[in-house]
Amino acid sequence: MAVKKYVVGCFKEEDALFNAVKRVRLAGYKMHDVYTPFPLHGLDKAMGLRDTSIHTAGFIYAISGTTLSLGFMTWVFTADWPLNIGGKPHFALPAWIPIMFETTVLFAAVGMVLTFCYLCQLAPFVKKHHFHLRATDDLFVMVIECTEKTDENEVVSFFNNLGAIEVNVQRAVTGWWLGRYDKEQQLFDQKRETVNV
């Protein structure tokens, strides 16, 4: 995992954050991410993120559930073991609707949650670098990645001008690893730093 350098700016107010997002995009800095304690509506649009298509995945899981259960029950009651139940037709579609509905919902829900966890790389025992601990409490934390062209001090003063209440520079790896939150882990050697600032 590559070690990169980041400038972290913390904002107390949503308005200041939205303003900062707009200014950062205009200035052309590389915005790594914004961490917020709760979902801010419109922030994804402001940051230029595309819409998520997790609901499309959900639809695909849902119809898989429907067809799988319909196909399975059809095969069981018409081909594998046709059973005479009160002289009713073997292909008893109305009686299968409850199970088809339940499997539709089950597949969609389980599939979507697993997809969500996969896309966001969330799982038990996964540890990530957290730029600011109060990002889950009351601060809106904007992180800018330093590239070869970025002047770190310029970004720091830029954040200060935008009304950030706290600004700092951090070196971090942004992936995930297996680890414990009660242990400080130095995952990377400072000497192998790859970014020149």
């Binding site: 949503e14 308005d15 939205f18 303003n19 991410d33 914004v34 961490y35 917020t36 304690p37 709760f38 801010l40 419109g42 994804d44 940051m47 993120l49 998520t52 997790i54 609901h55 959900g58 849902a62 399975f72 069981v76 594998d80 073991w81 139940i85 008893a92 009686a95 409850p98 199970i99 509905f101 339940e102 919902v105 089950l106 969609a108 829900a109 389980v110 949650v113 969500f116 966890c117 896309l119 966001c120 790389q121 969330l122 038990p124 025992f125 996964v126 540890k127 990530k128 957290h130 601990l133 109060r134 990002a135 889950t136 409490d137 009351d138 934390v141 995930w176 414990r180 939150y181 009660d182």
Partner: protein, 482 residues
């Protein structure tokens, strides 16, 4: 950014002078403090009840279903009554978390976490009854459709009892996923505040490494919305399928088409009553009166009087149809076995009527809806009534069958049947006590989301702005970055 606005007509959902950090403090502080004496007493009583339940079930498994007083004609008694009762209680949680999300009801944020937890624990309790009722419980897995060595025999997909397996199984799984994905950000908040090593470690594992990234929130919002959309028909289907257990039979008193909507309304009715029972106490003990306000309590009491009245209409419709159909068996089941106060179980029918239909009418009065003592008392009364509803439906339809020679038997439970029921109370409250100690009982992130719209001091500020001339109002509400 859009103007955050909520009408001044609506009372604030979050009282007091709060900022985001204060919200975190208020809700997470009980987790970080050592449990109180009251908590220990409640928890140990619950564990005691649970152990009594375990012993009762042990007796039933060892000596057979004969440990219960079920007999020929009354083959379903307390067990299935309790099953339907617990499943029904679960329904309020999903109604609050899913249906009210789709309806954009802001007040749900104060109560949804605890109500969803209640759903999960109630469904866990409900599931015990059909499983142990099987008698030979080690064969319970026969209900699953898997390739087997029994000549490949499959379960009967046309049977409502199998639909129930799928409905309850799906309901439990989806409720659990919905609840836990909502918990992830709040568990991360607990983790990041933690100073103790074990707590940081435990919540580190539980929070799945949540960071609060904007992209993650975007997916999380989409996921919650779709799960709410899926849970809404799901919750209606679950009690519909439970009612099919009865309605698809030809037993007088069960064989009616009114059952699905009638059962769903009754489920929401009893579920909201249980939410009230839990939250009236929880808000007091954990000092969360500013988040679960009297407004919340009042709104839920309105739901109780509405659904209670729907249930009342269903009772009257059943009686009317029993007479109007001119079916002698249906008429006998209703007029003689149930509504006649002098028949063996007439007392149960009229207890149900007075608890479910007559007494909730007190909530037409605002003063009563906002009275915590009345609310708590009524919530218990409603759940007693709803338990008797299921008892009346099951037992009064069974204890007098088509063969009058078997009518002499009056069904009363044994101590082990009662013990099993008490044991599920133990399971439910043990889980609830653990939940209220280790998890945030209010959705912290969701409260922060509505704070600037529905918080008391923000609404006051907005009220002042609203009274200003239009030009000034425009200036104040359209912030610079537009």
């Amino acid at each position: 950014m859009a103007v955050k606005y909520e009408s001044q007509v609506r009372a604030p959902l979050i009282e007091g002078n709060k900022d985001y950090h204060q919200v975190t403090e208020d809700i997470i502080r009980p987790i970080e403090a050592p449990p109180s004496l009251l908590w220990w007493i409640g928890f140990l009583i619950s564990v005691g009840l649970l152990l009594f339940g375990v012993y009762s079930v042990y007796r039933e498994v060892t000596y057979g279903v004969g440990q219960w007083n079920l007999h020929k004609t009354v083959g379903w008694g307390w067990d299935i009554t309790n099953f339907v009762w617990w499943v029904g209680i679960g329904h309020a949680g999903t109604l609050i978390s899913a249906i009210l999300l789709l309806f954009r009801q802001g007040w749900r944020t104060g109560v949804n976490r605890a109500a969803e937890a209640m759903t999960i624990f109630a469904v866990m309790c409900a599931g015990q009854f059909p499983i142990w009722h099987m008698g030979r419980v080690w064969m319970a897995f026969f209900v699953l459709p898997y390739p087997n060595t029994r000549g490949v025999l499959w379960p009967n997909f046309n049977s409502p009892l199998l639909w129930d397996v799928f409905a309850i199984g799906t309901y439990f799984t989806v409720s659990l996923l919905f609840w836990y994905t909502g918990l992830l950000p709040d568990l991360a908040t607990v983790r990041d505040r933690a100073r103790l090593k074990w707590r940081k470690r435990m919540y580190g594992v539980l929070s799945f490494g949540w960071t609060g990234s904007t992209k993650h929130w975007q997916r999380h919002e989409s996921l919650s919305l779709v799960l709410a959309g899926l849970s809404t028909p799901l919750v209606l289907s679950v009690h519909t399928v439970v009612s099919f257990d009865f309605a698809t039979s030809v037993i007088p008193g069960w064989h009616t088409t009114i059952f699905p909507p009638y059962f769903v309304a009754g489920a929401i009715f009893s579920g909201f009553a249980m939410v009230q029972t839990l939250l009236v106490v929880t808000r007091k003990v954990l000092h969360l009166e500013e988040y679960i306000t009297i407004e919340h309590i009042e709104v839920m009491n309105k739901v109780i009087v509405l659904t209670g009245s729907i249930v009342g209409i269903a009772y009257l419709t059943e009686l009317f149809m029993a007479w109007y159909s001119q079916n002698p068996y249906e008429g006998w089941a209703f007029m003689e076995n149930r509504a006649n106060p002098f028949s063996p179980y007439g007392w149960a029918y009229w207890l149900m009527m007075s608890c479910n239909v007559i007494s909730p009418q007190i909530f037409w009065f605002r003063r009563m809806r906002r009275n915590l003592v009345v609310t708590f008392f009524m919530s218990v009364i409603v759940n007693i009534g709803m338990w008797f509803e299921r008892f009346v439906i099951i037992v009064t339809s069974l204890y007098r069958d088509y063969l009058p020679s078997s009518w002499s038997t009056y069904y009363t439970p044994t101590i082990w049947e009662i013990g099993f029921y008490l044991g599920t109370f133990g399971l439910f409250f043990t889980c609830y006590f653990l939940f209220s100690k280790f998890f945030p009982v209010i959705a912290v992130a969701e409260i922060k989301h509505i704070l600037k719209k529905s918080g008391e001091q923000y609404k006051k500020k907005m009220d002042q702005v609203e009274r200003k001339p239009v030009e000034e109002f425009y200036q104040e509400t359209h912030v610079t970055h537009h």
